[in-house]
Amino acid sequence: MSDANNRALGAYRSNFLKEVEANVEEGHWVKMCMQCGVCAGSCPLGPHWQHSPQKIFMMIRAGKRDEVLTSDSMWMCTSCYNCIVRCPRKLPITHIMHGLANYAHRLGLAPKGQPTREIAKLFWDNLVKTGRVNELKFSLAMYFKDGFGQGIKNAMAMQGVGLGLVKAKRLNPLELLGGHGCKDKAGIHKMVAKAREIEDRRKGLA
């Protein structure tokens, strides 16, 4: 278990709601949920959530820390914002789910190998490197995330799509050699590192 997780356990003891309010993006909204279930019924990936947002909110209030933070439910969010616009209490549900997912990830409690968790990390690392997303390198990183053999298999399976995009001039093989990027990469690296340092300090993650 990570140091940050032990610190959070020590600081908040059995009050998981307080911990969420302090450390999770938009977490102070959780207590406003009135358990109507509209979010659960509005989610395009609803059937695949082990616990719907409605249940997650009640579990937080019931102190089910492990069950919430180790759940892969939040990683099912497609960011469609349907739950947000329909919530009668105006909870920013999408952002709370993102916040919970990020918190669980940073504490090291999120499920290992969860595909959206892995791809989210690859995406962020890709964009921070040059300031802009390199679509080719990101695609290849996704195909090869489970090792070289699986990567070749994935790339072969998708080669029709790849070649079609190259033909349509919507994928440039030369992106592999560098490609698009910001000029002030150094500034961006320092800025992102500083932002992370401030947030980690505030949330006890550092």
Binding site: E25, P44, L45, H48, M76, T78, S79, C80, Y81, N82, I84, V85, R86, T94, G99, A101, N102, H105, P115, T116, R117, E118, I119, A120, K121, F123, W124, D125, L127, G131, R132, V133, E135, M142, G160, V161, G164, L165, A168, K169, R170, L171, N172, E175, H180, C182, K183, D184, G187, I188, K190, M191, V192, A193, K194, A195, R196, I198, E199, R202
Partner: protein, 299 residues
């Protein structure tokens, strides 16, 4: 007429030879015709898109959007910031609002921005290109430019998620926005007004990580377009366009369907209706050729 000036945030997918390269080409034509000038924000960066939260958390994610706002403020003062990508728009507008609501968050963001030599006053308004067209240009003026009505073309207007939620276009409903159908009418084509997958999610970034679950969404979106007798789908979103167009062949392979439904951008329709060529409209960038539209362009 004086040109309307905007600070332009193209976003990663609209760069040369990126996945929405053809979208940008058609936007250029539409802007020329409508006297809209998009001034690219120097050295803009990625917005973090919809899965940036996983590793990026809250402040680092808000800060990368704050950098774009600060660059617009500094280099293109007084101009609204305009995105053509819903994810870019959403991230930037959300960051602007979040930093406006919390002084402590703005102070933290500025502490980080100083590392990149920038400072944010947070005075720039972040808008979507569709808002510029509807609110600043207007349907009437847009229609006046039509020289080649797209007669007989049937279009399923697929708005998707992030152009529509959580912000959307003022005056439109989240459940049944009408502006895309109105744009279809404006260019002389026929909208499928009862198309029931108008605001369905295509799976977004989960098309990569959860292909099976996303492809079920995409199947619904395409199938309903066929059921309504549409010739093609039209969308304002790059990720909707790519997901719904590109994965049809995967769904065909796995599920034995025979989908071959073109998916175009609204600006591609406008370009052809304004008398532009198929190439100017970026129709050479379709994965599934939009043959009926190409034919209209050649007339």
């Amino acid at each position: 007429m004086a040109k309307k000036q905007y600070a332009f945030y193209p976003g990663c997918s609209s760069q040369k030879k990126a996945s929405a390269d053809n979208f940008l080409r058609s936007i250029d034509v539409v802007c020329q015709k409508l006297d809209v000038q998009l001034n690219e924000i120097p050295d803009w960066n990625c917005c973090g898109a919809s899965i940036g939260y996983g590793e990026g958390g809250e402040l680092p994610r808000l800060v990368i959007s704050a950098r774009n706002l600060a660059l617009a403020e500094k280099n293109l003062p007084g101009q609204d910031m305009v995105s053509v990508c819903p994810a870019c728009w959403l991230a930037t507008r959300e960051a602007g609002e979040r930093l406006h609501e919390s002084d402590s968050l703005l102070a933290e963001a500025n502490e980080a921005l100083r590392e990149a030599g920038l400072d944010l006053k947070n005075e720039v308004k972040s808008r979507h290109f569709v808002e510029v067209l509807i609110e600043d240009v207007g349907f009437e003026v847009m229609q006046q430019q039509v020289v080649k009505p797209l007669e007989g073309l049937k279009l399923a207007g697929y708005v998707g998620c992030q152009t529509n939620r959580p912000f959307g276009i003022v005056g439109e409903s989240f459940e049944n926005p009408r502006y895309l159908d109105k744009m279809v009418e404006m260019v002389g084509a026929q909208p499928m007004e009862t198309y029931d997958q108008k605001v369905t999610c295509c799976g977004g970034a989960l098309a990569f990580s959860e292909p099976e679950k996303s492809q079920k969404q995409i199947r619904d979106i395409v199938e309903s377009a066929y059921d309504h007798g549409a010739d093609m789908i039209v969308t304002p979103c790059q990720l909707c366009q790519a997901n719904v167009e590109i994965y049809q062949s995967e769904i065909n392979k796995k599920q034995g369907t025979r989908f071959n439904m073109p998916v175009v951008y609204y600006t591609q329709l406008m370009t052809i209706a304004y008398g532009g060529s198929a190439t100017e409209a970026g129709l050479d960038g379709q994965f599934i050729r939009a043959e009926k539209l190409e034919k209209l362009a050649g007339k």
